[in-house]
């Protein structure tokens, strides 16, 4: 197999002489396609990191919202209400820009020797040492930084929705159980950690499953943030290519977008299966309809 692949790639040196399957084999393994395949990793990486981060933000948000401390409660309420009330796209454009320029302004005042004005006419100018990342940094550092900014935006937006879901789930735990915990002598903290927290997950699960599916479907927004994700490459590869390119072809965007459709269908379908199984497992022993159904 390896030998076969090797021969195949060797023969890719002169694509114009290729036909049929050999042409496709070479076409689908050219440098540009390898970048396309890599970009699936970018999307999966974003999902793998954004989901736990959003859950963390959500948990902090839910606790803040339910807090007895007046200042904290308002912060939680404002965070959730604001993010839920403003269109996602606005947040996705606003958050990375705010963080990026915020960091650069702070670095400008702390790192530069002579601090000239940052806003010069239309220009946003910080000194070379304050650039984030530095202009001289490797391209992958710039990519990683852009990715991290996008990740922050996803965590903040999805965290607010998760906060609301978790808040609702914490309220859904039957009061009788909390009263019993109190009767057994647990203090507020103990009854929260031992009784309320473990039991709220089953109520949160449908909402969180929903959020996860929405998060998967929101990954093409990466493209909006200038990150070369699968949508960027699908569009770039699918566009009409003339004889300037080694592999000329007409407009093939429909095939590339169809491939993305299949990818997203598999992702959401697979997630659905996993969440269904989780639901069944977590329901066991619960005093709920699904719990009793599973136990019988």
């Amino acid at each position: 197999m390896r030998g076969f692949l090797f021969c195949m790639f060797e023969s890719c040196a002169d694509p114009s002489s290729l036909t049929g399957l050999a042409w496709f084999a070479c076409y689908l393994t050219n440098g540009k396609h390898l970048l396309f395949y890599q970009s699936f990793g970018t999307v999966l990486g974003l999902l793998a990191l954004a989901a736990p981060l959003a859950l963390l933000f959500g948990f902090a948000g839910a606790l803040a919202k339910r807090s007895q401390i007046p200042g904290l409660r308002q912060i939680g309420q404002v965070y959730v209400a604001m993010v839920r009330g403003i269109p996602d796209v606005v947040f996705f454009l606003f958050v990375p820009l705010l963080i990026d320029q915020g960091i650069e302004v702070v670095r400008h005042y702390s790192l530069c020797e002579s601090t000239g004005p940052i806003y010069q006419g239309n220009d946003f100018v910080v000194c070379d040492a304050a650039k984030m990342p530095l202009s001289s940094a490797e391209p992958w550092v710039h990519s990683l930084y852009g990715f991290a900014l996008a990740l922050a935006a996803y965590a903040i937006v999805f965290g607010a929705f998760a906060a609301n879901t978790l808040d609702g789930a914490l309220s859904a735990v039957p009061t009788a159980q909390l009263e019993t915990a109190r009767a057994y002598g647990m203090n507020a903290r103990q009854s929260f950690v031992r009784i309320q927290l473990p039991q709220m997950w089953i109520y949160a699960l449908p909402g969180l499953a929903n959020l996860w599916q929405i998060l998967i479907k929101a990954t093409p927004l990466l493209f909006l943030l200038g990150i070369e994700d699968i949508v960027y490459w699908a569009r770039e590869l699918g566009g009409t290519k003339g004889s300037r390119f080694a592999y000329p072809h007409p407009d093939w965007r429909i095939y590339y977008f169809a491939a993305l459709l299949v990818f997203y269908m598999i992702m959401t379908w697979g997630s659905e299966k996993v969440f269904n199984r989780l639901q069944v497992r977590m329901s066991v022993g619960q005093a709920t309809l699904s719990g009793k159904g599973a136990a019988l």
Partner: protein
């Protein structure tokens, strides 16, 4: 002799290498032959060749950054990169926001293209596609035709092939390349002369970089290397006027 050798070695060891300034060059990478992503996934094209040559002459360490056309000026101004070389024509409107170097390609006629057999009347009364924020979009808007704008050049061509628009207006070299790429589905129509030639966009506050680029540009205009690149990418002697 030995002493000379030792001192030469010492000089080599302790000399601090002069670090070239790093310049990030923004480009759209979707507008062949000006700028595009080649089969290896690298940026390529006339803009890239000229830019790299200028960087080597001006002793700058250049890296290319891809950016959507729509946000290419805002992101220059925000400092995400330092220059724009993206087939961008020098216009008075753009010059209010950013600065341009001297030109590196003379004004090039823009071409209309449409499906074969399209009546020439559509150019002034039909639906004409153009890329957002281009000189062509501005021209179509004034021409009497209905303008439909797209974010990428590719979509403007597809719009004509799909029948969404009657014709498309873009830079001549791009249109010719697309006519060839679509295998004769499109034919070229009228040409119009708009724009002030291509220039390198820089921030207004970045006068030092602009001076360096202009000096290097003057050099490649004088020694004929710019003309060579123009002929390489456009195959057109009439554009090699420098």
């Amino acid at each position: 002799m030995k002493k000379a050798l030792i001192s030469a070695l010492a000089a080599g060891l302790f000399a601090v290498p002069a670090l070239a300034d790093t310049v990030r060059m923004g480009t759209e990478a979707a507008y062949p032959p000006y700028n595009f992503v080649n089969d290896n996934g690298d940026v390529d094209g006339f803009d890239i060749d000229v830019g790299n040559l200028l960087c080597s002459l001006a002793d700058l360490d250049c890296t290319w950054v891809k950016n959507d056309w729509d946000s290419i000026i805002p992101n220059l101004v925000a400092g995400n990169y330092d220059t724009i070389m993206a087939g961008m024509s020098i216009t008075a409107e753009r010059d209010e926001i950013i600065d341009f170097s001297e030109g590196y390609l003379p004004p090039d006629p823009s071409l209309y293209a449409a499906l074969e057999g399209t009546d020439a009347g559509v150019l002034t009364s039909g639906v004409v596609a153009a890329q957002t924020n281009t000189i062509q979009a501005g021209y179509v808007a004034e021409s009497g035709a209905t303008l439909v704008e797209f974010a990428t050049p590719d979509e403007t061509i597809s719009a004509v092939i799909n029948g969404e628009a009657d014709a498309v207006l873009a830079d001549g070299a791009y249109i010719q390349e697309q006519i060839e790429a679509t295998g004769g589905q499109l034919v070229s129509m009228d040409s119009v002369m708009i724009g002030g030639g291509l220039g390198i966009g820089v921030r207004e506050s970045d006068t030092e970089l602009k001076a360096k680029l202009n000096a290097a540009l003057a050099q490649i205009k004088k020694d004929g290397r710019l003309n060579d690149l123009i002929i390489k990418w456009f195959d057109d002697e009439s554009k090699a006027i420098y």
